[in-house]
Structure formats: structure tokens, C-alpha cells
């Protein structure tokens, strides 16, 4: 019983991070129809931003959140304005190739700047925890979850209430009608791509608290972002949040599956990825638009 409660907590804590990992990726894909393969590289840059501020100036990782966001937003904005814009509304394969190339470029520059060494952000309070009944909760991961929920909340409010947010959603619904109503699509696209990169940066900062840094770390998270956002539903804030939490909880429980069939020992944790993908498959069969996705015409 206690293990079930502990796994639920582990799953929710891991899922919160996954939600932020997927959020930016989901917005860019849902609104601009670009599958951004450089998302993982942006996450890595966010993590290194935190690492640099932490080692050089002893800035607390949580305080570096806005810095990661602003730096990566600027990078994303410029990339969209001066590079991606050339292939705006090109076939998916073209943007696929371009973002793949960008990812390679960024990762290799990072390898030159930071070398392939593995690094960690270990704060004085790293590993501190408290117990609730039988369940152990690490403070850092709890703060990370709170930050993740706050970020998704703010994003949701901004997209539904602010003028720019509404323009973004209008562009995603009907680009022609949005242009006729005076929305500058080029500008909106640059903002959305910047936002995607900025959120990746934030995710990188949060990840750096529990996961060690390496220039190639982004790939793993790119794959998770992909699954989470298809699972939850494209282009929506709620979708990323629900998708992240479901993925995290499924992985946590999969770990405890332990069966022996005909002398063959099967460990659920060795099959974590496979089990999460089976869940994805089931969701896609039952609800092709994802858990929170709305049917589109």
C-alpha cells in the first residue's frame, strides 16, 4: 500500500517536469505545424544557462528560471525571424530537416564550448526531504512541480486573456481570417517560436536540478516531449499538463511490474518506455486527438 502511494508521488513529481518539457514543443507544433527537432537542444541550453550562473555566480537554480526563459526566448525569436521564416508554411519535411540541422549545430557548438564532460547542479538543499506518513517527498522535486504548475497556469491565462495570446490562438485556428483582422502573422510566429524555446529553457533549468548535464542530453527529452504532447493533445496547455502527469505516473507504476512467465523473468522497469508507448497507442485508438485534444475539422 505504501509503495503505491510512494509511486503516485514519484509519478506526479516526474510528470510535472515532463509537462514543461512538452509544453513549448506542443505549442510550436500545434500552432505553427512545425515539429521542432531542436527542442531538445534548447532544453540543453537552458540547463547550461543554470549551470553557468550556479557555478560562476552561485545563483540559485530557481532564480535562474527567468534568465533561461529570456535568453532562449530571444534565441528562438531570432531563429524564427531570420532562419525559419524562409520556410514558413513549407512542407513538414523541410522544417523537419531545418530544425534537425539546427539541433546538430547547437549540440556541436555546445560540445566545443563545454566539452563532453558530465556536470551537475548540486545545491546545498539538494536531496533534502520530508516524510508524510510512509511517503518520502524530496523538497527540490516538490518545488520543481510547483514551478511547473505555475508556469503552465500563467501560460494558460496569457493565451486566453491577453491580446497577443488571443492573436496566437486566432492564427492557429484560421490564418487567413487572422490576417484580415490585422494580425501580423510573421510577428506572431516569431513570438510563438520564441515562447517554445523559452519554455524549453525553463524545462532545462528544472531538469538540471535532478539530472546531470551533457551537451547531448536533449535527445532523450525530445522523445519524451513528443510522446507527452501526442498523448495529451496538440497545441494546448492543458494537454501538455495532463499528458505529462499521465506519462509520469504510468512510468512509475510500470517499474513495479514484476512477473515470471514460463521461467522468463520480466521486469516492468526495463520495459518502462514500451509500457508508456502502449498506453499512448491505446489513447490514440480511443481518442485520436489525445486526452485533452479537440476534434478538428
Amino acid at each position: 500500500m505504501h509503495l503505491i502511494a510512494q509511486d503516485l508521488v514519484n509519478g506526479i513529481l516526474a510528470g510535472g517536469i515532463l509537462a514543461v518539457v512538452a509544453l513549448g514543443f506542443s505549442l510550436v507544433w500545434g500552432i505553427m505545424n512545425i515539429i521542432n527537432l531542436a527542442h531538445g537542444a534548447f532544453i540543453m541550453l537552458g540547463a547550461y544557462t543554470t549551470y553557468q550562473l550556479f557555478t560562476a555566480f552561485h545563483v540559485d537554480p530557481f532564480l535562474s528560471l527567468p534568465v533561461s526563459f529570456v535568453l532562449l526566448f530571444a534565441l528562438g525569436y531570432l531563429i524564427q525571424r531570420f532562419i525559419m521564416n524562409w520556410v514558413a508554411r513549407a512542407p513538414v519535411l523541410t522544417t523537419f530537416l531545418l530544425t534537425f540541422g539546427l539541433a546538430l549545430l547547437i549540440v556541436n557548438i555546445a560540445l566545443n564550448v563545454w566539452t563532453g564532460d558530465t556536470r551537475g547542479v548540486t545545491t546545498a538543499y539538494s536531496g533534502a526531504n520530508f516524510t508524510l506518513g510512509d511517503v518520502t517527498v524530496p523538497w527540490t522535486k516538490l518545488f520543481t512541480l510547483v514551478a511547473a504548475l505555475a508556469i503552465t497556469g500563467v501560460m494558460h491565462l496569457w493565451l486566453t486573456r491577453s491580446k497577443t495570446g488571443r492573436a496566437i490562438r486566432a492564427t492557429s485556428m484560421d490564418i487567413g481570417a487572422a490576417q484580415l483582422s490585422g494580425v501580423r502573422v510573421t510577428e506572431i510566429y516569431a513570438i510563438v517560436f520564441g515562447l517554445g524555446a523559452g519554455l524549453a529553457g525553463v524545462a532545462g533549468t528544472l531538469i538540471s536540478l535532478s539530472y546531470a548535464l551533457n551537451p547531448t542530453m536533449g535527445d532523450l527529452f525530445l522523445i519524451k516531449a513528443f510522446v507527452v504532447c501526442v498523448l495529451g493533445g496538440l497545441g494546448s496547455v492543458q494537454g501538455a499538463l495532463v499528458g505529462g502527469l499521465v506519462y509520469g505516473i504510468v512510468e512509475a507504476f510500470a517499474t513495479q511490474i514484476d512477473v515470471t512467465i514460463g521461467g522468463q523473468h520480466i521486469s516492468g522497469s526495463g520495459l518502462q518506455d514500451a509500457i508508456a508507448l502502449v498506453v499512448l497507442l491505446i489513447v490514440l485508438i480511443v481518442r485520436p486527438t489525445g486526452i485533452m485534444g479537440k476534434a478538428t475539422a
Binding site: 509503495l3 563532453g116 548540486t122 536531496g127 546531470a212 547531448t216 517499474t255 526495463g270
Partner: protein, 408 residues
């Protein structure tokens, strides 16, 4: 048309390369040429450079001390490198080029199990001996290859030393939990540790694996914690070692000893974790504290070797350096014993080799694997790596049991 011309040229080149004699190769002048495709760029750059340092240090020593004597004649040594970009296929292609175009006499291994495996296939096909010091997966040696030799202790022995040490302490460790990544090397390490434990009266109370792409292992740690083991072992790589060690602290898991197959012996581990790295044990191929007395012909002690690395490359001697140099030494002694540069004769001499060096014993079983050398156990004590086991090579006593979190 153009395509056809290209195809014809390709076929021609293929014929030429097949017709070119792969052996015997004549050394230009009185030089023995070694070739190595090694990770000079890519994600294993760092280890690749350490490998190259190990090779070069040996080359410079040998050339400064009269070279290698073959049937009464002295030969200088030369090493030709290519950058394999840390890629398995590239490494094999470059090995082929070293043999066919550069006519090297022998191959020194690349860095890593993946590249060593692909290059071993080329060495076998071309019948050119390779000695490698950087691929420990037994898979390389279970193919029946006759031309590949590895100076490393095999994967299954990585964690044995830690269990042996923990059994000899007071209070003796009786239960062990093992977590392992799902890749071939880590699975070999974990299976070896479990076999050792059960055959020595210890109980394996928890054993589980996770994908080598895992970014969160907290649920494994929750399950492990319930079994309350004396020793917690992890068979994996640096990234998961850090993930597990952080996770153990987050859930306040207390054990008498914590051991890792890979991690503690690289400076990155202690740098990333700070005080939380203290007390951790790691299995290592070599450390600068080992006390073997080596045969003449090279630095005879680990201390002298470490001093040479420090004065040449200005860093502490790493086990990657030492195992790479050891690969060269295997060639040096085998060539001298063969009294010939003929690849087949040198291969036979390697198969019969039995020599102790600053690195430990160099002796191969019939698969070409050095099963005779024990691993050493290091412990991070006050941020510094100290060799604590086996006792006859140790430069410090193990701190056991490990202190509680927060007191390290």
C-alpha cells in the same frame, strides 16, 4: 552514364583493394607502424584523448630507450591515428584504411566497446593483431576472434571487489540490492555481481533494471528501499550513477556501502555531487596506488607511470591512460618474444603472453580476454579517490559503514 562510370570505378577500386597484399607488410625502414582509429571528436572525445596520451607516452618512452628489439635489430615505433568521430562504423572503415592503404603492422584499439567490436571484425578479416584497452564487453571476445586481445578485466568482475571488501568488514555485509541499466555491458556487470554474491553466501534482496535512456529512477529506489539492503550496487554509466546517487539521498536510503561500476573514478562524479559523493565505492581497472612490480622495458611501477603522465600531460594519471599504455606493452613484449614482425607469429606470442607490468598482469584466456587481473576498488574519501581494495594494492582503509546522509 555518369552513374555507370562511377560504378565501374568503384568496382575497380574494390578489386585493387582486394588484390593488394594485406600481409606480410614491410615496415618502412626500421620502424614498426601501429595504427589506431580513435575518438578525437564526438561524444567520447575526452576518453579518446586520454587513450591517445596513453599510446603516445609509451611510444616516446620506447623511442627514447632504443626502440623494440626484434631478432637482434632495433626498431623505432610510430603510431598513425585517424579520428573515428566516436562512431562504430567510421572506426571500422578507418581500421581498414590503416591496414590497406597505410600498411600498418599492427592495430591499437579505439575507445569504447562499440568501436572495439567493429574494429575487431576488420582485424579478424585482415589477420592483423589488435590489442585494445578500452572495450570491456565480453561480447567482443565471445565471437571466436583470434586476432583481438583485450587487457581489461571483463565486465562481470567490475563489482566483485566491492562485495569482497564489504564481506570482510565488521559488521559484515549480508544483503545486496542491484540496479542496472539495460545495455549489454551493464547487464554483464550486474549478472557477475549477483553470481558472486550468491556463491559467497550473500543474499540478493533486490535486483532490477531500467532503460539506459531513463531520466528518472525514483520508483526503482522506492522499491529498493523497502528491502533494506546492506550494500547497494549500480551497474551503469556516469549519467545513471549520478541519477541513482541523487535519488538515494532524496529518499533517504541508508546502506552500509554504495558501489558503482562506472562513475566514482571519473572526476565528473565528485565534481557534480560535492559532499554527497563521499563514501561511495567504485570498481576500477587500475589506480595509481596499485603496487605491481613490472617487468623491465618500461616504467616498472604505477607511481613512476603516474609521475610521467603528470609531467607530460599535467593531470593525474587516469585509468584510461594506463589501460591504453598496457595495450602497447602487450605488443612490445609479444613482438620481442616472437622475434618477428609477422602478424601470425606476433598473434601467437600474444596468446602465450604472461608478463606483469605497472598495470598488473597481462595474460589472455583462449578468447583473448585478460581474466587474470583483479579490479581495484576505490572510495571517495573527503573528495579524493583512495584505493581501498584489494588490500595488497591499497593506499588507504575503507571507510565502512558509510555515514548517514548529511554527515559525509
Amino acid at each position: 552514364m555518369k552513374l555507370r562510370v562511377t560504378a565501374a570505378l568503384g568496382a575497380l577500386a574494390l578489386c585493387a583493394s582486394l588484390a593488394a597484399p594485406s600481409a606480410p607488410v614491410s615496415a618502412a625502414g626500421d620502424v614498426i607502424v601501429f595504427g589506431s582509429p580513435v575518438s578525437l571528436t564526438g561524444n567520447l572525445t575526452k576518453e579518446g584523448h586520454l587513450t591517445q596520451e596513453g599510446y603516445d607516452l609509451w611510444k616516446n618512452y620506447v623511442n627514447a630507450h632504443g626502440g623494440i628489439k626484434v631478432a637482434g635489430k632495433s626498431y623505432k615505433v610510430e603510431i598513425k591515428y585517424y579520428d573515428d568521430e566516436s562512431k562504430n562504423d567510421t572506426s571500422a572503415q578507418l581500421a581498414e584504411r590503416l591496414i590497406d592503404q597505410d600498411h600498418v603492422n599492427f592495430l591499437l584499439g579505439p575507445y569504447g566497446s562499440g568501436t572495439s567490436f567493429t574494429v575487431a571484425q576488420i582485424a579478424e578479416r585482415k589477420k592483423i593483431p589488435m590489442v585494445e584497452g578500452n572495450g570491456a564487453a565480453e561480447k567482443i571476445f565471445n565471437q571466436g576472434f583470434k586476432y583481438t586481445f583485450g587487457v581489461l578485466s571483463p565486465a562481470k568482475r567490475y563489482l566483485e571487489g566491492i562485495l569482497e571488501m564489504a564481506r570482510a568488514q565488521k559488521p559484515a555485509a549480508q544483503t545486496v540490492a542491484i540496479t542496472a541499466a539495460s545495455d549489454a555491458f551493464s547487464q554483464e556487470v550486474a549478472a557477475g555481481a549477483a553470481a558472486y554474491a550468491t556463491s559467497h553466501g550473500m543474499k540478493v534482496v533486490y535486483s532490477n533494471k531500467y532503460p539506459d535512456t531513463a531520466t528518472d529512477v525514483s520508483s526503482i529506489i522506492s522499491a529498493l528501499k523497502q528491502t533494506n539492503p546492506d550494500v547497494i550496487l549500480n551497474a551503469g554509466h556516469l549519467q545513471d550513477a549520478l541519477l541513482v546517487q541523487k535519488g538515494l539521498k532524496e529518499q533517504n536510503v541508508l546502506a552500509k556501502a554504495y558501489g558503482y561500476s562506472v562513475g566514482p573514478d571519473t572526476p565528473d562524479f565528485a565534481n557534480a555531487l560535492g559532499k554527497d559523493a563521499n563514501g561511495v565505492f567504485g570498481g576500477a581497472q587500475w589506480s595509481d596506488a596499485v603496487k605491481y612490480r613490472g617487468a623491465p622495458g618500461f616504467y616498472t611501477s604505477a607511481r613512476e607511470y603516474a609521475k610521467a603522465i603528470d609531467s607530460t600531460y599535467h593531470h593525474r594519471a587516469d585509468y584510461h591512460n594506463a589501460e591504453s599504455t598496457a595495450a602497447c606493452l602487450a605488443f612490445q613484449y609479444a613482438i620481442e618474444q616472437a622475434g618477428s614482425l609477422d602478424p601470425a607469429k606476433v598473434r601467437d606470442a600474444l596468446a602465450k603472453l604472461d608478463v606483469t607490468t605497472f598495470y598488473g598482469i597481462l595474460k589472455f584466456d583462449n578468447r583473448g580476454l585478460n581474466v587474470y587481473k583483479p579490479m581495484v576498488v576505490n572510495q571517495i574519501q573527503n573528495g579524493r579517490l583512495t584505493t581501498v581494495w584489494p588490500q595488497f594494492t591499497a593506499d588507504g582503509k575503507p571507510k565502512y559503514p558509510t555515514l548517514a546522509w548529511g554527515q559525509r
